[in-house]
């Protein structure tokens, strides 16, 4: 107890002994930790936004398929919707929406032009709770309504390539579930601009009932797509569905399996973020080392006296470490407050690149707003790592102080 009291009292007063140096060190820790928190908050917020954009545009958080569908993606892999499962999912608070889909590849012709298309049969109402394509329809057109039969909405680039407009009648040729030719004349009800080049260039939405008829699906669908209230529930809901279905016949996939390229991008981005974190942590740690080193050097004589009058080397180590702890703790508290404040500002006012959306879309980047999201984990990990580094980097000067030869130290000017 006495040791702790000495260490704390001396350390606290020594912190304020050279105010300018302490303030500069506090600023180093403050700026460093605030930058780390902000950078990680941008990474988290940006990644979440990318996932949300990708999930919301069409993919959903979870898709349920006939086993083998995702690997082959042909019309042959279809499943009969399980009404009981759909009912239970509909009652699950974690599930925001569920939509059954029919998928087929086909050729669309308008006039003398033909283009490949990804046909997606959807229930117009159910789909609204799963994807955001309904809100991307350009003025002059409309999204599918429950009464629609031979109407479609298509991507802007596809419409442009075909020369079709809202109201144009296009011809579809594809293959039916039973192997027959699927052919239909369909009216363009609307044209959407999703921002995703792949969807804008090839995706066509048609009413589920019409798709069932056109592709002779006889009640079968290719996927049940789920949108969740929170992506963090993906694993739990996936496990629930897997439990209620036969794993030999059904595959349940999360967004991370459906979009591995996005996961890869996030991992790469995280790695570069960690490298910057490491650099910033080192700047902070060396700032603390420098301060403590200088502080110990300036007090060589004082430590010599302390050791002479009976202070043990362990008590000297404790004094230096507690001093470092105080500086680090103050700096971290200020840094966390600044980092959280900045992150909150950018959470409310995300960085908006919508003016450059087209240029970004060329590179396959469809997310144009980047909010920050400072999580408790971000704040606590930054604080803990900074504190741990501060203590680690203070051990060297502390040991140096404790190993001073009192006689030589006292002679030091």
């Amino acid at each position: 107890m006495a040791n702790a009291r000495i260490a704390i009292r001396l350390a606290w007063r020594n912190v304020w002994r050279n105010t300018r140096r302490t303030v500069l060190t506090l600023l180093t820790i403050l700026v460093g930790s605030a930058m780390i928190i902000l950078m990680n908050a941008f990474a988290k917020g940006g990644h979440d936004q990318m996932i949300e954009d990708a999930v919301a545009s069409n993919t959903g958080h979870i898709q349920v398929h006939e086993k083998g569908y995702w690997e082959n993606r042909t019309i042959d892999y279809a499943l009969k919707p399980d009404g009981a499962l759909l009912d239970s999912l509909g009652k699950d608070a974690r599930v925001r929406g569920a939509s059954m889909r029919i998928h087929a590849d086909g050729l669309l012709s308008f006039g003398n032009t033909t283009a490949g298309a990804m046909i997606q049969g959807v229930d117009p109402e159910a789909e609204k709770s799963v994807s955001t394509l309904h809100s991307s329809v350009l003025p002059g057109g409309r999204y599918l309504s429950p009464d629609d039969r031979k109407s479609i909405v298509m991507g802007e680039t596809l419409a442009k390539n075909l020369g079709a407009r809202t109201g144009s009648v296009v011809a579809l040729i594809s293959q039916g579930f039973d192997g027959s030719i699927a052919a239909e004349k369909l009216t363009v009800a609307g044209i959407f601009r999703s921002g995703n080049p792949e969807y804008d260039m090839a995706l066509v939405l048609m009413p589920l009932a019409q798709a069932d008829e056109t592709f002779t699906m006889v009640g079968y669908v290719h996927s049940i797509t789920l949108r969740l209230a929170s992506p963090s529930d993906t694993a739990a809901v996936k496990a629930l569905i897997a439990q209620k279905t036969d794993p030999r016949g059904i595959e349940v996939m999360g967004w991370d399996e459906l979009m591995p390229e996005l996961v890869q991008f996030i991992v790469m981005d995280d790695v570069s973020c960690y490298i910057f974190d490491f650099i910033l942590f080192m700047v902070v740690a060396f700032g603390i080392l420098n301060t403590i080193q200088m502080s110990v050097f300036e007090r060589t004589r004082e430590f010599g006296v302390m050791l002479s009058i009976g202070t043990t080397p362990g008590q000297v180590v404790a004094m230096v470490l507690v001093e470092s702890f105080f500086i680090a703790l103050l700096g971290i508290a200020l840094g966390c407050a600044a980092g959280w404040g900045l992150s909150y500002y950018f959470q409310v006012n995300p960085i908006d690149y919508s003016d450059y959306a087209k240029e970004m879309a060329v590179w396959g980047v469809t997310t144009v707003t980047y909010p920050a999201d400072a999580t408790a984990l971000n704040l606590s990990m930054t604080a803990l790592i900074t504190l741990a580094l501060a203590m680690m980097f203070s051990v060297f000067p502390a040991r140096r102080a404790s190993r001073l030869e009192p006689v030589q130290a006292i002679r030091q000017l």
């Binding site: 006495a2 009058i309 043990t312």
Partner: protein
């Protein structure tokens, strides 16, 4: 057997490849309650001898015992403990801890000894009263004069009631009047508490007041004289100045 026994003490330093023989074989015995001065010209080995007696430095040869304990057999931690419990140090440059007040500087040793707060404060305030600094108890060293700082240093050295106080040129940075007053104070403590005082000094005033004067030349004892205790009575600073 004396409180402090020094036998065959040799201390050599290496400096730029040259061996400097600071102490060349000293034998001494210092008894309890002595008020001794080690004098001699610069480089005669006074401070080195004091440091070795205080366990701050190790001899090249020979041994130093305090109450029969050979300091050479003690670990650094045991030496720390010995310095904490049995030896008080007074340095030429006061060497107080600048961030602590006068009271806290005096308390520091008691704090290291684990004395409880109430007892610590009571004893430290009593010591400050004794050295005439009660009113300055809550001032930091930077706000005290040199003489006041040295009195705080004396307070720090005596507060734990050690057997031995080693004072290295305690009056060197003080004016004559302040130095004389400080010597009066230490002499009184020596008489009242029977604390053994050993000074290293150049100061003729200290030499005159010492009951025993050990004079070193080139690391050896040149003379070792003891005077009658009656020679020392408490003198007022003015008298001390006049005598000088």
């Amino acid at each position: 057997m004396g409180l402090i026994t020094v036998r065959g003490l040799v201390k050599n330093y290496e400096s730029n490849g040259i061996t400097v023989r600071a102490i060349r074989g000293i034998d001494l015995a210092i008894g309890r309650g002595e008020f001794s001065a080690i004098a001699g010209p610069s480089g005669s080995g006074k401070t080195t001898l004091l440091n070795i007696i205080g366990g701050l430095d190790r001899p090249t040869e020979g041994r130093v015992s305090v109450s029969g304990t050979d300091l050479g057999t003690l670990s650094p931690r045991e030496l720390s403990e010995l310095r904490l419990r049995r030896i008080g140090f007074i340095f030429q440059a006061y060497n107080l801890i600048p961030v602590l007040t006068a009271l806290e500087n005096v308390e520091y040793v008691l704090l290291l000894q684990g004395v409880d707060r109430e007892e610590r404060t009571r004893r430290s305030m009593a010591i400050l009263r004794e050295v005439g600094l009660e009113a300055e108890a809550h001032r930091v060293p930077g706000k005290l004069s040199g003489g006041q700082q040295q009195r705080v240093a004396v307070g720090r050295a005596i507060v734990s009631e050690p057997d031995i106080i080693l004072a290295d040129e305690p009056t060197a940075n003080l004016d004559q009047k302040t130095g004389a007053a400080l010597l009066d104070l230490m002499h009184e403590l020596n008489h009242r508490r029977k604390t053994t005082f050993i000074f290293s000094t150049h100061d003729s005033m200290v030499m005159e007041r010492a009951e025993r004067l050990i004079y070193l030349v080139d690391g050896s004892v040149d003379s070792d004289r003891t005077r009658g205790a009656a020679h020392f009575t408490r003198k007022k600073p003015a008298a001390a100045k006049k005598r000088k």
